[in-house]
């Protein structure tokens, strides 16, 4: 069932590139902690005229949470905060290309978008 959980594209992404980055002069910083697994995320966003112009994150987590937090970038940059908060769980999972996550792994995949929705 989890055979394509760790598909090549995600592994290429997480293993090959430096996916974490600091945003210069962020005006929104969100921190989140998953007490079940110990994942910690610090998401930084810089907006101009209400539009997200830069997005980055730091922290530790599993492959699923790291990849999903990174991939959120393309969904957020150029959008308003309101639009960013409207990114749906299904959209996030479609970006990840995984449709068979168990409930606890779903939390990993949706950690970043849920933090953005709840904390901005």
């Amino acid at each position: 069932m989890n055979d394509h959980l760790y598909r090549d594209e995600l592994l290429d992404l997480v293993r090959a590139s430096a996916i974490q980055k600091k945003v210069r002069k962020p005006n929104i910083v969100i921190e989140d902690f998953n007490s079940l697994c110990g994942d910690r995320l610090k998401i930084s966003i810089r907006t101009r005229d209400g539009v997200i112009e830069d997005y980055g994150f730091e922290g530790n987590g599993c492959l699923i949470s790291q990849a999903s937090t990174y991939l959120l970038k393309d969904r957020l940059i150029g959008k308003s905060i309101e639009d960013a908060k409207n990114v749906q769980d299904d959209e996030m999972l479609a970006v990840l290309g995984i449709d068979n996550l168990t409930p606890s792994r779903l939390k990993c995949a949706l950690m970043a978008i849920r933090a953005i929705r709840a904390k901005i």
Binding site: L5, Y6, S35, C37, G38, N60, C62, L63, I64
Partner: protein
């Protein structure tokens, strides 16, 4: 000794693979006799307890009270009235925190805990400390993962009101010499009460409340082959007499008037409401089964499997927390594979039919102390075999390949 066949769940495949269950520190599986006993109670013996004069109620009351005696004997406790049934080990500690703590703790008193306590033996005390003005003090662990007796002794003083100690850590596997620790605490402050969290040791090694000589001890039925929703709290009789009830309701009173109530005697004083009767009966059956296997046989099997696990971990050059030799520990192994997040490893192992725990294991202060973000935990019980361990290591090899780690 191979007892795998006694557990119906192992007839099942997991993700098409043989089921290798290595999360016994979290919960244990149930032998057929326990499942049958609870089912039989509901299908042909069901009744409530302490409330009816009709046959099934009387039978249920007798069965429930018989389990109290079975548990007392299992813990080498002389008075079965010192055994209280709760909903979990966690509830047992909360009961002590509220019923003893709220009554006896005052501003400036100290609650001394080890840093290796499970959240269940930390958070209730934080709540009660907030209500009473008492202060929580932590004692450290030594290099091997045992509660540091010198640090503990140093931190016991006149203000120490209660000491909470884990018998065996659910992360480190280290079995603390609680008998000696209790003695040392009492030497420095004879008035201090001591609570032992024996959730990881009861059913794994012989636990005697008379020998340990603490004031409170808790364990959980579901970790000793019994059903979920039942915990056991032992309270020394003299101490129980000084405590207030925990929750109010039926059974815990002798008389109720509009102007007030008179509490029942322990253990009933602490058992308000209709309890988990089927669960308690299941616990009784679980202990009977464990007695038929023999605790010494359980211990020996755990020791052999622990030695086998250590051999493999060393061969794979995997560092694990806690004592490095089998004699001083239980089969609870917490470790990390470099380059693989614990959740990812656990997910791949799941596809191989291997169940392990990953995360922080309800012990955040300990992980902070160990400077570790999270870890994988594989924990054994006597129904495991060497094949389960081999299956896990084959799974680790597969995870390394899938996740591209050397």
């Amino acid at each position: 000794m191979n007892r795998r066949a006694d557990f119906p769940i192992f007839d099942k495949k997991v993700n098409g693979k043989r089921f290798a269950y290595l999360d016994n520190a979290a919960t244990t599986h149930k032998p057929g006799c326990v499942i049958e006993a609870t089912s039989r109670f509901y299908s042909s013996e069901y009744g409530t307890i302490n409330r009816g004069v009709y046959k099934y109620s009387e039978m249920a009351t007798e069965a429930y009270e018989t389990v109290r005696k079975i548990v007392a004997e299992f813990l080498n406790c002389q008075k079965s009235s010192e055994i209280i049934f709760t909903s979990s080990a966690t509830e047992g500690i909360n009961l002590v925190a509220y019923s003893w703590g709220l009554k006896h703790l005052k501003k400036g008193d100290e609650i001394l805990l080890s840093v290796s306590e499970h959240h269940a033996d930390i958070v209730p005390w934080q709540i009660i400390a907030g209500k009473t003005g008492a202060k929580i003090v932590f004692a450290g662990i030594d290099e091997s993962g045992f509660i540091d007796v010198f640090d503990l002794k140093n931190k016991v003083n006149k203000k120490t009101a209660i000491v909470g100690l884990v018998h065996a850590s659910n992360v480190l596997g280290a079995v603390n010499n609680v008998k000696m620790l209790v003695k040392e605490v009492r030497k420095k402050n004879p008035k201090a009460k001591v609570l032992i969290d024996a959730a990881q040791t009861v059913g794994k090694i012989r636990v005697s409340v008379q020998s340990i000589n603490a004031d409170f001890l808790v364990f959980s039925a579901h970790k000793v082959l019994g059903p979920t929703g039942v915990g056991v709290l032992w309270i020394r009789e003299e101490v129980a007499k000084t405590m207030d009830p925990f929750i109010g309701g039926g059974s815990m009173i002798k008389d109720v008037k509009q102007s007030g109530s008179i509490w029942n005697d322990p253990p009933y004083k602490f058992e308000a409401g209709t309890p988990n009767i089927a669960g308690v009966i299941g616990l009784g059956e679980a202990i009977k089964y464990l007695n038929s296997v023999g605790i010494e046989a359980v211990e020996n099997k755990d020791l052999k499997l622990t030695e086998y696990m250590i051999e493999y971990l060393k061969r794979f050059e995997i560092n694990f927390f806690g004592p490095q030799t089998a004699e001083d520990r239980l089969g609870i192994f917490t470790f990390n594979i470099e380059g693989i997040h614990p959740h990812d490893l656990a997910s791949v192992l799941d596809t191989e039919g291997v169940a392990v725990r990953s995360g922080l294991h309800c012990a955040h202060p300990l992980f902070e102390y160990l400077k570790t973000e999270s870890a994988v935990r594989a924990s054994l019980y006597f129904y495991n075999d060497t094949q389960d361990i081999e299956q896990m290591f084959n799974g680790i090899e597969k995870a390394k390949k899938i996740l591209r780690v050397k």
